[in-house]
Symmetry: C2
């Protein structure tokens, strides 16, 4: 019987966010300028969207025992809440449902869902 | 009338991939060990999945004039082909269709689609 995949946790820091800014070229102040971000509606810096996917990808590749998701893999993500420096993100992916898709989610240390996802692997 | 968003291009290098390995903790040899990766079915290192999203996210945030995608945004990605060091990735997002979703894709310098996506922003 198919089972849920082992969860993977990852703590996001401002160092992570700054490194991601360097590699992506996205230096939006909301991500990297603590003073500007503190004055925004978010009250502080938030992580770039793809950062929150790290733990989810590791749950999938580690749990499935693959080096990378195969071509044809579909990952449909809904962003639900910001990820902030210091957040400990835990990714979980369930066993496939009757339609063959896996429900997945990333939660923070306060058990707030920061993103939910549906993962469909190729046949 | 709604229009397509301006495309954003980004060249992925082994330096980018190594930096992403550091920040994500995913040091799979397929990403970071050129010798091992050369002997794999891929014939060389490939980028982590979230790296290919960088240009797409920048197309969306730059084109929409927002600092970050708002909560409730849905990005459904199908991974179609590996991204390799040296690839120049161009992300494009179309104007919303009748159902309100935007079709999007990232192509490489050979015009191969490396990922396709459907983007739905909250009402």
């Amino acid at each position: 019987m198919a089972t849920d995949l082992p969860p993977v946790s990852d703590t996001v820091t401002q160092v992570t966010i700054n490194a991601y800014a360097e590699l992506s070229g996205d230096f939006n102040p909301l991500h990297v300028d603590e003073e500007v971000a503190a004055a925004s509606e978010f009250g502080g810096t938030i992580a770039h969207g793809p950062i929150a996917l790290q733990a989810l990808f590791r749950t999938l590749t580690d749990g499935l025992g693959v080096d990378a998701l195969p071509a044809g893999s579909r990952v449909a993500v809904t962003y639900r809440a910001p990820v902030r420096p210091g957040d400990a993100i835990t990714a979980r992916a369930e066993a496939p449902g009757e339609d063959g898709t896996r429900a997945a989610a990333c939660t923070n240390q306060a058990d707030v869902t920061v993103l939910s996802a549906t993962v469909t692997l190729p046949e």
